[in-house]
């Protein structure tokens, strides 16, 4: 089932175009409030889009004519709040098969509950479940409906680390053959679950492509940030990237001289030095000024105007916004055209 969707929701300033190949998983990567959930809800028909064109396997579900009602689309939404119904867990999972007129809905539901590891919860009510259990039940309910396309809205939001990690592993197996869109703000989810990635910023898709491509070779600083990478961009000159400030970063490969190119690397791979120009010839040094300091657990992300580095809190403690620093980037990273 190949899904092509273009949805516009004017009230929430969302105008997104998404494509998922048959059996593939697309990660819709963006920060909170970027319109990911709205885009999914519009595709599922939970919110009414201002304009939309949704084509599933060549059949236009929403477009010029009368839209196909949500219940006939075969597009199931797994909502962030689980939205379990006031009935037993088994009845929740049997809801889709029963609506489809199946007679063996209880067996189907039992099978799916076992697959998500919740067979022993069949008789419970939604209020008697932990957050992780409720999410598993909601996943079983969504898959038991045999969706042509499954939309998962932040499937790990609001879960503790342990539950999130076990559900992530489970979903990777369950989604193998399902056409799915997963929204997330976490590059790790995109890495582990997705074949393709679309990056969303303020209601628009700003970058899309194969996961490996978008996550390791982002084309915009925004996409790089979402992919947890630093984008060092400049102009190719004689085997090196020349940055706007004049600093040179020797790279391997990349486009021809005079073309725009970039390297991307994790912020933890960037070295930070305060004070005089460093002597270490193994790294290419880029002079910069601190624009922001973001605490992240044990480390602090030091954001400059060109480069970002994750450094130990003791180092960052001596820094203020505006402080002059040197960012050290390894030489010879593979460059790509922008």
């Amino acid at each position: 089932m190949r899904l092509e969707a273009q949805v516009t929701v004017e009230g929430r300033d969302v105008d997104a175009t998404l494509t998922v190949g048959a059996g593939r998983t697309l990660a819709l990567l963006g920060p909170n409030g970027s319109g990911k959930s709205t885009a999914l809800e519009a595709i599922a028909g939970v919110v009414r889009p201002t304009r939309a064109r949704i084509v599933l396997d060549g059949r236009e579900l929403v477009g010029a004519g009368r839209p196909v009602p949500p219940r006939e689309r075969g597009i199931v939404l797994l909502a962030q709040d689980d939205a379990l119904f006031p009935m037993s867990v088994l009845d929740n999972v049997a809801f889709g098969p029963r609506a489809a007129g199946r007679r063996d809905e209880r067996e189907v539901a039992g099978t799916w509950l076992a697959r998500v590891g919740c067979a022993d919860l069949a008789a419970r009510r939604p209020g008697e479940l932990s957050g992780g259990q409720a999410r598993r039940v909601a996943i079983a309910r969504a898959l038991a409906a045999e969706p042509r396309v499954l939309l998962l809205d932040e499937p790990f939001a609001g879960l503790d680390v342990e539950a999130a990690s076990s559900i992530r592993t489970m979903l990777r197996a369950l989604l193998a053959d399902v056409t799915a869109i997963v929204t997330t703000h976490d590059a790790l989810d995109a890495h582990t679950l997705a074949d393709d990635v679309a990056v969303m910023d303020r209601g628009r898709v700003v970058e899309a492509g194969a996961a490996a491509e978008v996550l390791t070779r982002p084309r915009t600083p925004f996409a790089a940030r979402m992919a947890a990478r630093v984008l060092v961009a400049g102009t190719m000159r004689g085997g090196a990237l020349e940055l706007r400030g004049g600093a040179r970063v020797p790279v391997s490969g990349g486009p021809g001289g005079g073309a725009a190119g970039a390297v991307a690397l994790p912020p933890s791979a960037v070295t930070l030095v305060v004070g005089d120009a460093p002597r270490d010839r193994a790294l290419a040094w880029i002079p910069d000024a601190v624009t922001a300091l973001e605490p992240r657990g044990d480390e602090v992300r030091v954001v400059g105007s060109a480069v970002t580095a994750d450094v130990d809190a003791t180092v960052a403690a001596r820094l203020d916004a505006g402080a002059a620093v040197w960012f050290g980037v390894p030489r010879g990273l593979p460059a790509y055209a922008l």
Partner: protein, 259 residues
């Protein structure tokens, strides 16, 4: 939350205002003859009629009031405010006015009653009239319960149920109505209690024909001069039923989880 101390005497006065008449009724009862008073033919007839008509009226209120609550919820803005005011009128209208209104709608020369009369169907002064009067005054309780429950419930689960392939009827039956359960219970209980106690509209629209339209409140009103002991005995029956029904089934809707 605890209020300031000066609320206490006012609360006590309020409690006395409500409780003292009830105590007075209980004090006046001739407990020794209670059973024989209640099982007297006229009393039993009235009680049986009250029970029958109130149950039918409550069923009618459920069947019509729930859709009415949904419809009211679906309306917008000023239209909804006007519709709500009209639908809730029986709640604040003097019952005798309601009875008069029913008479001019369903009576022999009423809007609908006239044509019905020509077709050989007469409603006024029959048991059907009793049920109509009771449903008329009890309907607002169900409409209000359903409408306010829908307002707090939202429609998200319903939308998700639709993506799972469910029809509107299935969503109503399996998702919405179960979530409205507490509200429906409250509406039903209040409607039943109100129907059981109906007096003014019944007397005006249905009259007071023994065994046909003379419900318990009417019997009490008639007996209070001729046989005050019987009147008090029947009153206590209604009192016990009302208090029991409310204590068992009525819970404020707000603050209860939908899950």
């Amino acid at each position: 939350m605890t209020g300031p101390r000066w609320l206490v005497p006012l609360a006590v006065a309020g409690a006395l205002l409500v409780a003292l008449p009830l105590v007075g009724l209980l004090a006046r009862a001739s407990w020794g003859e209670m059973w024989s008073l209640i099982t007297a033919t006229a009393s039993l007839e009235a009680l049986a009629l009250s029970l029958r008509t109130s149950l039918v009226a409550t069923a009618l209120v459920l069947v019509l009031g729930v859709p009415l609550g949904f419809a009211l919820h679906a309306l917008q803005g000023r239209v909804r405010a006007v519709a709500r005011a009209v639908l809730l009128a029986p709640l604040v209208l003097p019952p005798v006015v309601g009875g008069l209104a029913l008479l001019y709608a369903f009576g022999r020369r009423g809007l609908l009653g006239g044509p019905l009369e020509d077709a050989g169907v007469s409603i006024a002064y029959t048991t059907v009239a009793v049920v109509l009067a009771q449903a008329f005054v009890a309907m607002p309780f169900m409409v209000v319960s359903v409408e306010s429950a829908l307002a707090t419930h939202g429609s998200r689960r319903e939308a998700i149920a639709a993506t799972l392939g469910a029809s509107r009827t299935r969503i109503l039956a399996r998702v919405t109505l179960p979530a409205l359960g507490p509200a429906l219970a409250t509406g039903t209980v209040l409607a039943f209690a109100r129907a059981l106690g109906e007096f003014g509209a019944t007397l005006t629209f249905a009259g007071s024909l023994a065994g046909v339209t003379r419900t318990t409140p009417l019997e009490i009103y008639l007996a209070r001069e001729t046989d005050p002991d019987a009147a008090v005995a029947l009153s206590i029956v209604l009192l016990v039923v009302a208090v029991t029904v409310v204590a068992v089934a009525y819970r404020p809707v707000a603050g209860r989880a939908v899950r």
